[in-house]
């Protein structure tokens, strides 16, 4: 596939020259065919790991290694049965439940705290707002390394290690500046006249916030909620730092258990639980892909 890719690549700019067609937008059929073939090849390469992963989870462990074939020769659900038996005496649904609690908690925290901060930055005039906005932007670029050690010490002193509190409290305090920034940008695009009209009618800021701003920034709230869910679902370092007991592990830590405990020759169960762990994200992706991709396109959010 890769050879085909490199063969076709140099062809494209040449066909893009289109001597016969004067209009910039018009393309010849031949160029379009080459274009489509190149795209399909690139898409196949990009999606191969995901496809391989899903299909490998239905292969017996001895079939996973040693061949490139995607389709299992002897399909089996044995890997999934093994996963459902749990690990270390903990049933697998516990890990899903823990992940779900953390992700839903994160969504609630992010949506509430970030929309409040964004409203203050975008619509309220108060002393220090420019300074704080600048500081908020600065935290976008701050490497998290300088925070993990002191934050750990603080939560350890408070006796909160091995609870979900450290993982959730940061979300309720709008520490993820990406979300605040995204919502500030969105609120600034709303017409100011609506706020003004409401305020002339005697509505205070809380009223404007709840009745006008929040309903209008729904798309930004949805985008933030999806990203907050997925980031929490994928987060590995946070739970690794704060959670010690296996029964509190979310999926990424449980996956690590499988990964470290199984030998190289027995990948089946590990790959099967990896697939299971990605299913909620896949669902979000299929349902909300527009929100996700547009969110990235307009705000520069990264996955």
């Amino acid at each position: 596939m890769t050879t085909l890719d490199t063969e076709l690549a140099p062809v494209l700019p040449v066909t893009g020259q289109k001597q016969r067609v004067p209009k910039w937008k018009k393309r010849s059929t031949w160029a379009t065919v080459v274009w489509a073939v190149v795209l399909v090849v690139v898409v196949a390469v990009v999606l191969y790991p995901l496809l391989w992963m899903v299909l490998a989870s239905f292969k017996p462990s001895n079939e996973i290694n040693g061949n490139v074939a995607l389709i299992p020769e002897h399909p089996t659900v044995q890997n999934y049965i093994k996963v459902l038996q749990g690990i270390g005496g903990i049933p697998v649904y516990t890990f899903f439940l823990n992940s779900l609690i953390l992700a839903v908690g994160s969504v609630i925290g992010v949506v509430i705290s970030s929309s409040m901060a964004a409203y203050a930055f975008a619509r309220v005039r108060f002393a220090g707002s420019k300074l704080f906005f600048g500081l908020m932007i600065a935290t976008l670029l701050l490497p998290f390394h300088v925070l993990i050690i002191p934050q750990y010490i603080i939560f350890q002193r408070l006796g909160l290690v091995d609870t979900f509190v450290p993982l959730l409290v940061v979300k309720f305090l709008a520490t993820e500046a990406f979300f605040v920034f995204l919502m500030v940008q969105f609120i600034r695009n709303l017409p100011m006249e609506l706020d003004e009209a409401a305020r002339i009618d005697g509505a205070g800021h809380p009223r404007v916030f709840f009745s006008i701003t929040l309903p209008l920034i729904k798309p930004a709230l949805v985008t933030s909620a999806i990203f907050a869910f997925i980031w929490s679902w994928n987060d590995f370092l946070g739970p690794l730092l704060y959670l010690n007991s296996t029964d509190k592990y979310p999926l990424p830590l449980a996956l690590r258990l499988y990964n470290d405990q199984t030998s190289v020759s027995d990948y089946g169960a590990t790959i099967a639980i990896s697939v299971l762990a990605l299913i909620p994200i896949a669902l979000f992706f299929f349902i909300f892909q527009r929100f996700l991709v547009e969110g990235v396109a307009t705000q520069g959010l990264k996955g």
Binding site: Q17, V68, A117, P143, V146, G204
Partner: protein, 329 residues
């Protein structure tokens, strides 16, 4: 509202995001009693309360604690002991630290440009036609959403292992490298491939930028007889430079923070032979494996200073190659 949002230009220009200022919040009617200014001040700080607590208690405060710890020896259980610059001098004599700096730099400085080149190439491919590319855009974006997850790290490890599909596939082509995961020389290419695989997020941003370039510019270039390469160099690149700058900044900062994939692929060891001992992995091991909180804090602060200088240099040099003309509104 959705439409307004979709049509707005990408936040490609970081400088374009300066606060619109208090002037945007003017009210028509006057108000008796409590002055408007005071009411706004109270409301502003009330709305900002969660963020303010988060900023002071979870960001600024910890930064200062970390700065103090960087000059101490601290194991979490006894009081920090002031040792001056010892942590910093130790770093320069610590071969493992040097190695982690080296591989992190290679990863950031080699991986990021390749990833962005792939992102730009595919974005241009998608921009070639305006219709029917939605599926491809979503398909390319999917890896970015899950690339940093433990699941993908596990799959990557399985795919690149000895006798995994990549190894076996290369075997058919007559190349026998005997597994990438166990080979210190091949771990870096494998990690860079994992990063490049996630080109979708910068690609979506590039695509949004490409759509902002007026078609007349290309028509004018056509009239002047410019070939495809000339058009790319003289129209696409300059018009896209704010977006390139933004992606470069974002991706480099992201690359510095690589952790989960390296940690999983090496089972937390940073091996083989320290080849996945990225900065964050080493910092984690020192801080939470050996409880050398002081030393690890010094490492964190050195990183902060270096990243700060790098960002500053990038911003200062940007005026030579980033064109904020009438390109992006």
């Amino acid at each position: 509202m959705t439409t307004t949002q979709r049509q707005s230009p990408p936040a490609g220009a970081p400088t374009g995001s300066a606060p619109s200022g208090p002037a945007s919040n003017r009210r028509a009617g006057g108000r008796p009693k409590l002055s408007e200014k005071k009411r706004d001040g109270i409301a502003g700080y009330l709305f900002l309360t969660p963020w303010l607590i988060g900023f002071f208690v979870l960001t600024l405060g910890p930064m200062l604690i970390s700065l103090y710890l960087a000059f101490t020896k601290y194991n979490l259980f006894t009081d920090p002991e002031w040792i001056g610059l010892d942590n910093f001098t130790r770093m320069f004599a610590d071969p493992q630290y040097q190695q982690s700096v080296q591989i992190t730099l290679v990863y950031v400085l080699v991986g990021t440009p390749i990833k962005l080149a792939a992102a730009l190439g595919v974005a241009m491919l998608l921009n070639y036609r305006s219709k029917g590319t939605g599926f491809f855009r979503s398909a390319f974006y999917a890896p970015s959403l899950i690339g940093a997850s433990v699941s993908v790290a596990i799959v990557w490890r399985a795919m690149f292992n000895a006798d995994g599909p990549v190894d076996t596939g290369l075997g058919f082509l007559g190349v026998d490298v005997g597994g990438w995961v166990g080979n210190p020389a091949l771990v870096m290419p494998m990690m860079i491939l994992l990063a490049v695989w996630q080109f979708g997020a910068p690609m979506v941003i590039f695509l949004a930028g490409l759509k902002q370039i007026p078609g007349e510019l290309y028509e004018a270039a056509d009239v002047d007889g410019a070939g495809p390469w000339r058009k790319f160099r003289s129209v696409t690149l300059p018009m896209l430079s704010p977006v390139i700058f933004f992606n470069l900044l974002l991706e480099m900062i992201g690359a510095f923070q690589i952790f989960a994939s390296a940690f999983i692929i090496s089972s937390g060891t940073g091996g083989p032979a320290g080849s996945t001992n990225f900065y964050t992995v080493y910092l984690y091991q020192r801080a939470f494996g050996d409880l050398q909180m002081g030393y690890a804090s010094a490492m964190a602060w050195l990183l902060l200073v270096v990243v700060g200088i790098a960002a500053f240099v990038l911003f200062r040099t940007s005026k030579f190659w980033v064109h904020y003309g009438g390109d992006l509104k």
